[in-house]
Each structure stands twice: as structure tokens, then as C-alpha cells.
Subunit: 230 residues, 2 copies
């Protein structure tokens, strides 16, 4: 089964300016996705999909491929659907795994477990999710709990939130939907892949960047618990 | 309007052992809630509600009151409802604001905004929530999105998840429900108070502790963004 990794990256990100080249820990953000995908040995090839020659040089320097996206697919209005279609039209594979640069805390074991799910070949689309067990309100109304009763959070039905850290698409299904004018992003039989909270951070705002920075620092420290002397 | 702050704290926490006296940054966890509630000047009095004399000494040493909870309300099976009822039966107020020690990242401006909501006097119960704008699955089915269409996350209807960082109850409503055998936790007219993601961390697992540690480190660092030289 042929798996390709695609790492989409723009130089002109909006909410966190130039986030892909911003230094997190000891390297630019984009290197986390590149280094992890490459070291996993799960992929026939790993591609950075970008309009930017500068990001392309980082990709090639780090040992992966550069797919230069047409400039019209790099605007703020161009969608994931657009550039993924363009990529799949020029690259053959069974499954495409999109590794987002916005989840630098992703662990190797998680990426490998995700690829194992892909290789089970049971789904056309696999979305990474975060399972939240908390009382939830939806449109202002209780969703998964009853106000007449307080349950422990473990007893509440979870809400699974898509985090876009990892996404897999079966190429055939994706392109068939796209070619028939349908939305291919949630195509066919959808599977969800539950991730750990501390690696599912999705860098979207400056606040998220601080969380990632913090997690990174804490992971490196890995210090022993200390207690107040009572 | 008379507001009391109640900080519930057990010494024998389970999932993160002895978390209330575990050192986070430069002080034991429980001190974050105590110091913030006291410095806010929002409360007629601030109480640590605990079975533990040791936590009581920390409370008194930090300048707040100690409400010694009966030992039978400190077991793993005793509920928030039980110890809050016991507290309200012995303390008069208009509203009780529960400040959980599990949200050490809470900011002063947030606590003050929450208390301002309480003083509006429009709700009987106010719950702190985190607004999540992401595609959500509930019982395995898409909840707030349609698989035929990919929207930007900002366009998705949010899911508001209760975080229990701050909770306010109108004393009269709470006790009336309790005395009539009904669940008082979600009593009367419920309001939700949206919090920022980086202060809503709810310390429940070792993973959460690492997130808090990281956020704390990142807040102190507050360093300027650095970029890879392209």
C-alpha cells in the first residue's frame, strides 16, 4: 500500500504571522512535521506542499520533497480541497496522509498508530480527533448531560472534536468526489482517530503558540514532582 | 450583594496525587486559587473547604478562612453537591463562587469579569465554559457540520464545554433544590461564561499538569518571536 505524506505550508500565514519559519524550541515550526514524517519510515515519500521557494529549500535541505503549489492556490481564499486536489492529480498513491505543521507536539508513536489505522484499509477518510468528556452546551442547550443529575465526567458521552493534526484520504475516493463536483474532504466511510490532548494542539492563534511553547518546555524539563512540606 | 468564595481542596486527590500541595512554578497549587481570590477584592470572605488541617494551615497562613469539612464529605464518593450543601448550610451569602484549585492559570481580569456576571443577578447558576469551534462528532455522527461541505472553523456553531474553573450558585436556589431532593448543581436559570483556552486548563491528569507547567513557563518567559533566516 502506497502512502504519501503531504505537509501543507504557506509562508504568508495570517493569524500567526510566518508561523512555519517561526522558531519553536530549537527549530522552525515546519521542521517538526518534516522530521517526524521522514523518521517514521511510513511513507513512500514526504512532500512539503507550498508556494514558497524558501520553504521548498528548507524541505529539500531536511531531506524531503518539494511540491511547488501554483501561486493561485496559496491565497487566503484557496482551500485545503483545492491544493490537495492539485497535489493528488500529480502524485499517485493509495492514501495521502496530510501532516499539518500546526501540531508540533505530535509523537512518533501516534503518527505510526495513525498510519496503522490507514493500512487497515477500512476507511476512505480518517480524521484526528480529541475526545472531550465534559458537560457540553450546543446552541445554548445541554447536549450530553441532564440538568437534573450531575455525573462524573468519565460517565458523560464524549464529544469528538476534529483537530486536523493528521488526516488521511483514499486517493481514488477523494478524486472521484472532486471530479463529480462533491466535497471530498469528508468523503466516503469516515474513521476517527483519537489523539492525546497534549499532542493535539492546533496552532491557530498566539495563545496556541504559547501553549505549544509551554508543552515543549515541560517535555524537555520532565522534572520530578515536588511537594510543599506540610 | 454578598459573594463568598469557596475553594474546595482535598489532600488525598487521586489522579494527580496530593496535587494541592504539589509545587507548580514557585508555590503549591492551592495557593494560586487562594491568592487570586483574596487579591481580587470581590468577596466578603474567601474559604478553603477541606478535611485537611494541613491545607487549613496553608489557608490561614495565606490570609483566608478555613472551613473544616466533615470527614465523611472527603471520601472519593462524596460529591461537590454534598460538600457545597454543607458549606452553604453554615454560611450565609447571596452567591457562592467556587474557585477550583485545578485552574491555576486563571487571570485576575477573568475572575473579576466572572464576578461582574454574577452581580448582574440574572442567573441562578453560572458555569465557566470553553467555546470550541471545530467539527464535532457526537455518538459517531457529525454534530455541527455537514460532510457535504467544508466550512472554515470560524463558521462552525461552537460547542461550549464546561470547565469547572469557576462556578457560581445563588444560595437560595441551590438550597431550595437540595431541600426538595433535586439536583442543585445545574439549578434554575443557567448562564455560561466563556473563558480563554490558555487559562481554562483543568488539572485532572498528569498530562494536564504538564500543560499547566508549560503554560506557566511560557507566561513567565514572554519572549519575543524569533524566525528562521530564509
Amino acid at each position: 500500500m502506497k502512502l504519501l505524506a503531504m505537509i501543507p505550508a504557506r509562508l504568508g500565514s495570517k493569524r500567526i504571522p510566518k508561523k512555519n519559519i517561526r522558531i519553536l524550541g530549537d527549530k522552525p515550526l515546519i521542521r517538526y512535521a518534516i522530521d517526524l514524517a521522514l523518521a517514521s519510515n511510513e511513507f513512500d515519500s514526504v512532500w512539503v506542499n507550498s508556494e514558497s521557494e524558501a520553504l521548498g529549500r528548507i524541505a529539500v535541505g531536511a531531506g524531503v520533497q518539494f511540491h511547488k503549489r501554483p501561486v493561485e492556490l496559496s491565497s487566503d481564499t484557496a482551500t485545503n480541497r483545492d491544493f490537495t486536489t492539485e497535489f493528488l492529480n500529480t502524485h499517485d498513491c493509495d492514501f495521502l496522509v496530510m501532516v499539518n505543521t500546526t501540531s508540533p507536539l505530535l509523537r512518533m508513536e501516534t503518527l505510526k498508530a495513525f498510519c496503522a489505522r490507514v493500512r487497515e484499509n477500512k476507511h476512505d477518510t480518517i480524521l484526528s480527533t480529541l475526545s472531550e468528556r465534559a458537560e457540553a452546551f450546543y446552541h445554548g442547550k445541554p447536549l450530553n448531560f441532564n440538568t437534573n443529575e450531575k455525573l462524573n465526567s468519565q460517565e458523560l458521552p464524549p464529544i469528538d472534536l476534529v483537530v486536523w493534526a493528521l488526516t488521511a484520504w483514499r486517493r481514488d475516493t477523494f478524486l472521484a468526489l472532486q471530479n463529480s463536483g462533491k466535497c471530498p474532504i469528508f468523503g466516503g466511510n469516515i474513521g476517527i482517530f483519537d489523539m492525546r490532548k497534549d499532542e493535539a494542539c492546533d496552532l491557530d492563534t498566539e495563545e496556541d503558540w504559547r501553549i505549544a511553547e509551554g508543552l515543549m518546555a515541560a517535555r524537555c524539563l520532565n522534572k520530578r514532582a515536588q511537594y510543599y512540606d506540610i
